[in-house]
């Protein structure tokens, strides 16, 4: 489904250009649960932003379902993100003056849905992340873990093809982060594709495949041997 071929990414131009990703070749199939690991500044976020169509200014080819992402303009990229990608960021990324219902509504309304026709859908999404009936609460009245659950519900709203998560547990304590990982595993068990950046070994080990990055290059790509599998 996701196929990166000789992807290079530089920031800046000419002599001051900073080469962040170097000749990345990566293939991810539907239903995979991938963890991307590496030290800070190694290019994990840059890579995952490219995978999630947030950044289309790169060299090389990225085929998503036989379309070359490098050819997307801003509008096309937005439409593709809306339909096919779910995002979970480290800093929860909720809009503070909107309530929980309206935060989850955002991707649905950009997808052309009316508020009234997605009430049940949103209730169902909130229930699946353990926040049933919280529609009318404001983000500031929720704990960090709860806010991240709202972000996950929002990411899943349009039933995306894959989910990308940039350090989703980075700002959470270990107990809460275990809860979030539980949610991800549940999603994966139901067939969801998840690509997650983390620098926490324990978190990464709950995935099926760990890709390690150093200085913009993939240095290892290994299957995780699960005791329970």
């Amino acid at each position: 489904m996701i196929d990166l071929q000789h992807v290079n990414k530089s920031y800046g131009q000419g002599a001051t250009a900073f080469h962040v990703l170097k000749d990345i070749n990566l293939h991810i199939d539907e239903g995979e649960f991938v963890a991307i690991m590496g030290p800070s500044g190694s290019g994990k976020s840059t890579l995952i932003n490219i995978i999630g169509f947030l950044d289309t200014a790169f060299e090389g080819k990225y085929f998503f379902q036989d379309e070359n992402v490098a050819d997307f303009n801003a509008t096309k990229a937005s439409r593709m993100r809306n339909r096919h990608v779910g995002f979970v960021f480290q800093n929860f990324s909720l809009i503070h003056n909107l309530n929980i219902f309206e935060n989850v509504l955002i991707p649905l309304s950009y997808g052309g849905h009316r508020r009234s026709e997605v009430r049940d859908r949103i209730a169902e999404l909130l229930e699946s992340v353990g926040l049933a009936g919280m529609e009318n609460k404001l983000p500031r009245n929720l704990s960090g873990g709860q806010q991240q659950r709202v972000a996950i519900a929002r990411a899943l709203a349009n039933s995306p093809q894959f989910l990308i998560a940039d350090e989703p547990t980075g700002a959470l304590d270990s107990h809460t982060s275990a809860d979030i990982m539980q949610l991800f595993k549940e999603l994966h068990r139901k067939g969801g594709t998840i690509i997650m950046v983390t620098h926490d070994e324990h978190v990464a080990e709950q995935s099926d495949r760990i890709i390690k990055i150093l200085d913009g290059q993939i240095i290892s790509d290994t299957e995780v041997a699960h005791a329970t599998k």
Partner: protein, 397 residues
């Protein structure tokens, strides 16, 4: 995104910062209110002026064509019955009535006084006691008001010039047309400028008419069916008269275009009103800059929100629409409030003035249009800057 949802989130964003939105809106309210106040007062003045200037009290559309003889020997020439028919022919379905009007005031007449030809200004009267100051003799008797009356009153000035005194003038004879009059009184013309009584001679109308050989009048009054283009139709009649009017060789036909005059006065008032409104409109520009400033601040404060929206699927055009809608909602609300405030202000001011303010449909539509335009114009650049934000940069921070 659907428009209803877009309107909803734009309203939310404005409501999230009530004080700022309110203060920005005040500028628009003041701008629109002052323009509306001036426009409604100006329209009120225009309506009142035009109405006062329209002579016909029944709202009839009328016009008068005047005949001016070119030589003094033709002073009797004027309009005849044949000219009435001629005028009617021009537009039989539009012309309701044509009548010859006889001049009654300040006629220039060649008459005989003390056996000498004299040019005199004459006004015809129908009252025994016209509103004049008598210096000698008496006013008209009731009998003299009839066709066979023979009384005339002359001015002190004429008496002095011709008879060297009031006493000599009294009971002297005066000949106008085919008729002899007896001077029964001497009067001082009123001091009012352009008064109809500021003439050399006053004689009763019926008596004077009886003494005229021809019944030609100097004026032709035309009444049109309502809604006709008076200016154009009258011009046509004048053309026709010039070509085949009964006295076309002995004088000029002319027509004073009241419609043009009214239009001209109306135009001057409208132009003045617009000019003053334009000056008031400058405050609208300043308010617009306020809107622009607010939207720029809002766009930079909400870059996180913009980033989130774009990440989950908002296109740059949708972000731009949202911000544009916010500024238009702000200015449009300000415009509506301004319209109400302005109309009320004009109404209160007009209570101390002799006319009513007029809020036209045009000013209502104009208010909506102008406030939307201000919103779009001054919201465009901030909205563009919001839409062109770099997504990666936003998400990194």
């Amino acid at each position: 995104m659907r428009l209803s949802e877009l309107i909803r989130i734009s309203f939310r964003a404005l409501a999230a910062n009530k004080r700022r939105s309110f203060l920005t809106m005040i500028g628009i309210v003041i701008g629109i209110a002052s323009v509306v106040t001036i426009l409604s007062l100006g329209n009120g003045i225009k309506a009142a002026t035009v109405k006062n200037l329209q002579a016909d009290t029944q709202g009839q559309q009328t016009a008068e064509i005047t005949f001016n003889p070119t030589s003094s020997s033709e002073t009797d020439a004027g309009f005849k019955e044949s000219d009435i028919a001629l005028a009617k022919q021009t537009a039989p379905d539009k012309i309701k009535k044509v009548v010859i009007k006889h001049d009654k005031e300040r006629l220039q007449v060649n008459g005989q006084l003390a056996n000498a030809d004299t040019m005199m200004s004459v006004t015809l009267v129908n009252k025994a006691k016209p509103n004049i100051q008598l210096n000698a003799g008496h006013g008209f008797s009731q009998d003299s008001l009839q066709a066979d009356g023979e009384d005339a009153i002359i001015s002190k000035k004429l008496a002095k010039k011709v008879f060297h005194g009031n006493a000599a003038a009294l009971n002297s004879s005066l000949e106008l047309g085919t008729k002899n009059y007896n001077i029964v009184g001497i009067f001082s013309p009123p001091k009012t400028p352009y008064s109809a009584l500021d003439v050399d001679v006053l004689v009763p109308e019926k008596a004077y008419r009886a003494g005229q050989l021809s019944q030609e009048g100097r004026k032709l009054a035309i009444t049109y069916t309502p809604g006709s283009d008076v200016s154009k139709l009258t011009k046509d009649v004048v053309e026709k008269l010039k070509k085949s009017g009964s006295e076309r060789r002995s004088g000029e036909y002319s027509y004073f275009d009241y419609g043009e005059l009214l239009k001209g006065i109306g135009n001057v008032i409208s132009a003045l009103t617009l000019f003053v409104s334009a000056i008031a409109g400058i405050s609208l520009l300043i308010a617009g800059v306020g809107v622009m400033n607010m939207m720029y601040i809002s766009a930079s404060e909400r870059s996180q929100e913009i980033g989130i929206r774009m990440a989950v699927g908002a296109t740059p055009a949708e972000i731009m629409k949202q911000f544009l809608l916010e500024s238009v909602m702000l200015t449009l609300t300000g415009g509506v409030v301004g319209l109400i405030v302005g109309a009320l202000t004009a109404w209160v001011i007009a209570m101390f003035l002799p006319f009513k303010p007029v809020v036209t449909l045009g000013s209502v539509i104009g208010t909506f249009a102008i406030s939307s335009i201000v919103g779009i114009l001054f919201g465009l650049l901030p909205a563009k800057s919001a839409a062109n934000k770099n997504l990666i940069d936003i998400l990194k921070s």
